[in-house]
Symmetry: C2
């Protein structure tokens, strides 16, 4: 018995029948004597449909006003919250839906990508005390002036973890359409295994690399507020993956998982004059255009010249190319080249902090399969290599085996 | 220049193109220097779709929970309010959407049919002062505890008139898919004329008889708070019909309009023992079942017996019949008969207060066309007759001509 926050994603509430499944799962936990708070996403696809509607409305003349888009998008979670509470009542349970403003999820006023400042949850607490099942619309909050805000794609995860932190819940369960966190994408690597536990730090690296399981800010919240988070499937009863804070598990392997991303593109400026301040001239216009640069590599050539390569999101590739052609002309670089057919493959593990040799093992394994490494970047618990896009899957499988993560390898241990 | 509240119904905001039309109309009024508050309904059909969804959710096991149904239904107006504000901003106008709770439309807690208690409109006032176009989601409010409520079918009319009253607006324009209020349904009576003005009292009678132009509580608000209300079409620039308070116009005709309704059914208990308290025994069970009785007629027979006839909404006909069969058995009435094929035809006019002979003219005109009158009921400004359903249209046309309302008759004046 305790207080449980459960979050169900869009595929888990995609239609009436699935919402009924969610209701049954919630009711079961309630019947065991637990206090229950349920956070819901919009039905799968609804948010996209609403964005399409907004774009039709403004006829692509300009982006829809962000404040009003949030008002529009908030209807998605309002719908599922009302439907679930309605069905729980039909089942005979005391249930009540609350919208972001009613649950007092206070955010800043960055429409479309708001950050949670505070979850007051006064009414939530009262309803739990009165043994209500509280159903909260995820993804939404309101700013200090009462305007409706949304938290960005995947923001319901953050709604859930923030609510769990505010309520000091015993656990926060994130229900999704996968069983948990895997050592690699099972669609690419047949030998991928589900992890029983993963550290928040590793999860942050995975999320920032594009693994879509958890909203990155939800992991930050879990880390900061020490919320016990479980990632589970809403379609079965498996245990899922537990997010742990720090290195509680001394036996953990050096590498926990392999990820890859095909969402980046590479741009190279050739023969850049090697002068102080040149990097600022190259990157300031990109930053001004709101484009995030990920990896940067500089190779010094002979004769006071240098080649400079960096990656940006693939969606910003053409814009960045145009910006840098201007820059190159201005600073006297020889040429600008680009490559969209790249992938970033990463090995992640908190164990790396205390183990050497991970990088060399990675490079050697890739070399053995004739996979050429174009760029390298590292963090304390991650090593990423840019490779040719068509070799991404092979690279993932190679590294998965090399670091002893394969399901059959595990069985032999 | 002044402060104008404009309300647009579901057909006026049925799609993106129509919402753009609304935006242009609003912008034009704003450009003339007026303060603008716009109240919107949901897109035509959306509320029905949401009700269907709720019924699917509870699988018809029972009616959807009323509180949660209101949370669900409120998304309809939230959507149109966001879309209109978004488009006005694209057009370069300062606009902002407000939901019921943000506009502080305070209601009682009768979910699904809430009554407005107060419209505080603090933020509305501030935004008007700052020359914003304020777009308010109609049909919705919140109770004193912050729960979302809705005002019932057509409730956006009431949102608009109540907002106009709170803001002491110079005019409240109700835009709909008809040109205004007619002397009779133009689909039935080809000679029907649009009225330039109609009194609130007459409008109340029309609305209570099922004429769907205005939500009945909006007329009550207009009457009580002296709000100048205009009913106009959003598809043309015609002047529409003005609601006037009291009998400002001394030249007005005795009869302003003819209405009819086919939504009632008639039930007769034959040979009821004529004892004190018998009426209570007949009607209490009907009231307990939440069924509204409209007209009641009692004919005394010889021998201490009486026939009792009354009408109920057609949708409640079968239930009422069953109830009254039980009642008849209990009180010793001979039999219960029913008739669904009836219509109620009414003549309405504040002029009746000071004119006699309206009733006899009505009865004579109907008799001349061999239309049999089954039941009669009257108010100070209305006379209604129940006739055979198939004669309803003929009765309307006959009375329209008899009371000098025909378009050509008017031209001759």
């Amino acid at each position: 018995m305790g207080l449980i926050v459960q979050k169900f994603g869009g595929t888990s509430v995609a239609d009436v029948e699935r919402i009924r499944n969610v209701a049954r799962r919630v009711a079961k936990n309630y019947d065991q004597g637990n206090g229950m708070v349920v956070i819901l996403s919009a039905m799968a696809g609804v948010t996209d449909t609403l964005i399409d509607l907004a774009n039709q409305m403004t006829a692509g003349a300009q982006s829809p006003d962000k404040r009003e888009l949030d008002v529009l998008l908030a209807t998605g979670e309002q719908t599922t919250a009302a439907l679930l509470a309605m069905y729980l009542k039909t089942m005979g349970y005391p249930a009540r839906s609350l919208l972001g403003f009613q649950a007092e999820v206070v955010t800043d006023c960055s429409y479309g990508n708001a950050r949670i400042i505070d979850v007051r949850a006064g009414q939530v607490r009262k309803l739990i005390q009165d043994r209500y099942i509280v159903v909260v619309a995820g993804f939404q909050g309101c700013d200090s002036e009462g305007n409706i805000t949304t938290l960005g794609r995947g923001g319901s995860d953050t709604s859930a973890v923030a609510m769990a932190a505010a309520l000091k819940a015993d656990r926060c369960e994130i229900y999704t359409d996968v069983d948990g966190i895997y050592t690699a994408d099972p669609n690419v690597c047949g030998k991928a295994r589900k992890l029983d536990r993963i550290s928040c730090e590793e999860m942050l690296e995975m999320a920032s690399l594009g693994a879509k399981v958890l909203h990155i800010r939800s992991v930050e919240f879990a880390l900061k507020h020490n919320v016990p988070v479980y990632v589970r499937s809403s379609f079965n009863e498996e245990e899922g993956t537990m997010l742990v804070n720090g290195e509680q598990d001394m036996e953990r392997p050096v590498v926990s998982g392999i990820t890859y991303s095909k969402n980046e593109a590479r741009i190279t400026l050739k023969k850049v004059p090697d002068q102080p301040g040149i990097a600022a001239k190259i990157f300031a216009p990109v930053a001004d255009a709101g484009i995030n640069v990920d990896m940067i590599i500089q190779n010094t050539r002979a004769g006071g010249q240098t080649d400079l390569t960096f990656t940006v999101p693939k969606s910003e590739y053409q814009r960045t190319l145009e910006i840098e052609r201007d820059v190159a002309a201005r600073i006297g670089a020889e040429s600008v080249r680009g490559d969209e057919n790249i992938a970033k493959v990463s090995v992640i593990g908190v164990g790396m902090k205390s183990h050497s040799g991970v990088a060399s093992k990675m490079f050697t394994s890739l070399a053995d399969e004739n996979i050429n490494i174009m760029m390298i970047s590292t963090s304390e618990i991650r090593i990423s290599c840019v490779v040719e896009e068509k070799q991404a899957e092979l690279a993932v499988r190679t590294l998965h085996t090399a670091f002893g993560l394969d399901a059959d390898a595990d069985a032999k241990k």
